[in-house]
Symmetry: C2
Subunit: 214 residues, 2 copies
DNA sequence: CGCGTATTTGATCTATCTCAAAGGCCGTGG
DNA sequence: CCACGGCCTTTGAGATAGATCAAATACGCG
């Protein structure tokens, strides 16, 4: 992106900070902001009226959130850890896009990538069993962590088993059981519930049918 | 969109026609085209190596397909009926977007809408049971048919029960059974397997948690 | 130190899948 | 024009992956 538009973006940005468990924005919220996550992690969720929940995405540093107007999607963004983000008014971004078309192009490409990821997830939920889902999840988190932080030794999972369950469309107990199973099969090591080390990547990739670009 | 870019788009378009059951493009296919469906219907599918299938979307006249480069998503587009579409080279569209920025804006908005729809589907697959899924499906098809053709009396379903099953992440038998159940509950009428009349919209909407903008 | 929350594991239940078979529709070819 | 084959839908019966319910254990925080 050219220097000028970066400079202008920077000038318009506000910094927001929230605690673990708090919302960056909520479903009903009519405000229209765009965020760029800088520090910490979170997730996008949608709730059904009877309390069921779908986690649509986990959020890593660098992720843009809110690029889709809430008039057409309804999700909330919640922090998994203390979280800081840059925030812009949607209308400012709109204006800036009109001026610097390169910005709209960038935003479109980000949107395309989000769509591709969402389709991967759809495929998983539509076709795969619990074991395949968890394998997919672990490889995806490994890849995203690598992108965001460069860390590859172990996968740190800041979310609970319940969050993983609601991301994969299964129950907590199932997630827990499958973790135990694939640990005992020697596919992963689990130093503690929030730390995963992949021992047999290839086997996991075959299970998940998900091949990260290594 | 301004007249000039429509004119240029038109000049660059090729018309393609395929028969029912044929592919507009396939997963491995390295060609990069953008299509606008004009007549007929189809669907986007992804296959897993062991033959499972997820239908990612049903395609109605007016839909744009292929706006996301296949380098990041892998899907095939198949015809449910004889089908004609306009086709452009992706590179031509890219060039035209650079010249007429309004075009890129339009394309971004189309992409946003696709993402919103995909997220709705994700929510359904992650949280809902078979009955809720079918209710969602029927309301969605009704809405899309209305958008595409204006027809609202009955919903015409050109896809098989198997296609619906692979869209909703259940089996053919389950789809068939749920059709029978909601018919006997008086929620819908089924003059024939491919024709649905909604008798109790409100009840269906409550089941699906899907409220079409009427 | 004690409470609340999260994980894990066990036992049972059930929605959906799987397997099987009958019936209907349509296009083809004799 | 009719018979046949293939494909699709529907329905039944039985199997099962994962859900639900329950309880023990571990962990972190005030």
């Amino acid at each position: 992106m050219d220097d000028e538009s970066i400079y202008e973006l920077d000038a318009l940005a506000t910094r927001v900070t929230i605690n673990k468990g708090e919302y960056l924005f909520e479903e009903e919220d009519p405000t229209r902001y765009v965020y760029n996550l800088q520090v910490g992690m979170g997730y996008l969720e949608r709730l059904s009226s009877d309390g069921r929940r779908q986690i649509m995405a986990f959020l890593y540093p660098g992720d843009f959130i809110g690029l889709i107007p809430d008039s057409i999607v309804s999700v909330s963004a919640k922090a998994l850890s203390p979280l800081t983000a840059c925030r812009w008014e949607m209308k400012d971004i709109d204006k800036l896009m009109e001026k610097h078309h390169e910005l709209e192009h960038r935003i479109r490409r980000i949107g395309n990538r989000v769509l591709a990821t969402t389709m991967d997830q759809l495929f998983i939920l539509g076709c795969k069993n619990a074991r395949e889902r968890l394998a997919f999840f672990l490889l995806q988190m490994e890849k995203r962590q690598k992108m965001a932080t460069g860390e590859t030794k172990s996968i740190h999972l800041p979310m609970t088993r319940g969050d993983i369950a609601d991301y994969l469309g299964v129950t907590v107990e199932t997630v827990s059981r499958v973790f135990t199973i694939i640990k005992e099969e020697g596919l992963i090591a689990l130093p503690d519930p929030y730390e995963v080390i992949i021992l047999q990547r290839e086997e996991l990739e075959n299970i998940a049918e998900y091949y990260s670009v290594t």
